[in-house]
């Protein structure tokens, strides 16, 4: 204690501040490293999220409406979509099971859509009958182009009662 009285600089430090130089510098360092770490994490996350994807197009033409008879379910394998035609009109149902993403199959003899992976079953309109699927199969946007073909957009989903009138 006699040391501090003999040394004016140390006395000023002990009276005006409780943070020592060593603590101050280490806190600054830890803070800076923390900010740099957070920034680095954010940059790494951005780096790993691709901005441009070379994936299959999400819209496709499904051909002339006359291709699909009334009261039919047609599986388009390349697009993994069912085109369903009822007397009321058309709708497009996703064939990708909402459970874990397996491709479902249309079973005309039982009038159901069934998933081979874990046994989920759906009605032709996508509503679940049984199985582990948490949600019904979504309906995609389906419109008629100017030249009279069906156009499906897999990024847009419709409500269940929205039907493209025949």
């Amino acid at each position: 204690m006699s040391d501090t009285k003999q040394n004016p600089a140390a006395e000023i430090t002990s009276e005006t501040s409780v943070v020592s130089r060593r603590d101050f510098l280490s806190e600054i360092t830890v803070g800076a490293l923390g900010i740099a770490g957070l920034g680095g994490t954010a940059l790494t996350y951005q780096y790993f999220s691709p901005n441009v994807l070379f994936e299959p197009a999400t819209t496709f033409r499904a051909g002339n409406p006359d291709l699909y008879p009334v009261n039919s379910v047609t599986f388009l394998q390349d697009q993994q979509v069912y085109i369903v035609r009822t007397p009321a009109g058309f709708y497009a149902v996703s064939a990708v099971c909402t459970h874990l993403g397996c491709i479902t199959q249309w079973k005309p003899e039982a009038d159901i859509i069934a998933c081979p992976c874990h046994g989920s079953k759906f009605q032709p309109d996508g509503k679940k009958i049984e199985g582990p699927a948490p949600r019904p199969l979504p309906h995609y946007s389906i419109i008629l182009t100017a030249d009279g073909e069906l156009l499906v957009d897999k990024l847009q989903t419709l409500k269940f009662d929205q039907v493209l009138g025949a």
Binding site: S49, F54, E55, L100
Partner: protein, 250 residues
């Protein structure tokens, strides 16, 4: 003949090159044996003395050592497979087929890698069960148990990432289903899946990402953790030995 080899070895030990590599005399006393272990990078983490009981087959059933052996086998066969494999769609599938039907001894190496990987998962689980039922997670082994659990996860991730690389139907659907499990996580699930796959579908980006994880990141992590794991076994007093198996001093 035998004396000739013996003399040749003794002469070798007196050469300047030998003395520069091994800075010690022959390991004939306890002290020089210890110095031999301490002075060698590959041996220095081993204890200079072990209890005879902990070297016995019953103490370990050698499950951990066999897992390490399989890991080394998988590294060697994996590196050899890399010489013929392009992580690109659809080339990956054709490369896998070429390895099976065209490349000399390719089917042997591929199957060694594939079956070895299955066996490693099996042995790691057996090792975990063995350690668990012998109380190997108790003090002073808690930390090493946690390292072991992380190593189990790394083994499973290695297995899973390797599963995609043949780029066949089995691989595609396994990863489709597996990554859809990720997206079941609330809020961040879809984002994590997107980053893990590098897209919305299991495509070229996913194949490349899984490849890099499989051949670089996860093996390095496993190598590091295996080092810590084995070092810790030695520092914690060798393999777990039940008190009644022990020399009576515990």
């Amino acid at each position: 003949m035998a004396t000739t080899i013996h003399t040749a070895l003794q002469n070798l030990r007196t050469t300047r090159v030998w003395k520069s590599i091994f800075r010690r005399g022959p390991a004939i006393t306890n002290r020089t044996r210890s110095v031999a272990v301490f002075g060698n990078l590959f041996l220095h983490w081993l204890p200079v003395k072990v209890r005879e009981k902990s070297l016995g087959f019953r103490a370990a059933y050698y499950l951990g050592s066999l897992s390490l052996l399989l890991f080394l086998l998988l590294v060697i066969t994996g590196v050899l497979l890399m010489f013929y494999y392009h992580p690109a769609a659809p080339k990956a599938y054709h490369d896998m087929k070429d390895l099976r039907f065209v490349v000399s001894n390719g089917v042997f190496l591929r199957n060694m890698h594939r079956i070895g990987a299955h066996l490693m998962v099996l042995l790691v689980f057996a090792h975990m069960f063995h350690v668990f039922y012998r109380g190997g997670y108790k003090p002073p082994h808690e930390f090493n148990w946690v390292v072991g659990v992380v190593l189990l996860l790394v083994t499973l991730f290695l297995s899973y990432t390797g599963y995609l690389l043949p780029w066949d139907q089995l691989a595609f659907w396994a990863v489709t289903v597996g990554t859809n499990i990720i997206s079941a996580m609330p809020i961040v699930g879809n984002k994590i899946r997107f980053v893990a796959l590098g897209g919305n579908i299991v495509g070229e980006n996913a194949l490349l990402r899984f490849y890099v994880l499989h051949v670089v990141i996860l093996p390095l992590l496993a190598f590091l953790l295996i080092g810590v794991h084995f070092w810790r076994v030695q520092k914690d007093g060798g393999l777990t030995v039940r008190p009644k198996d022990d020399d009576g001093k515990n």
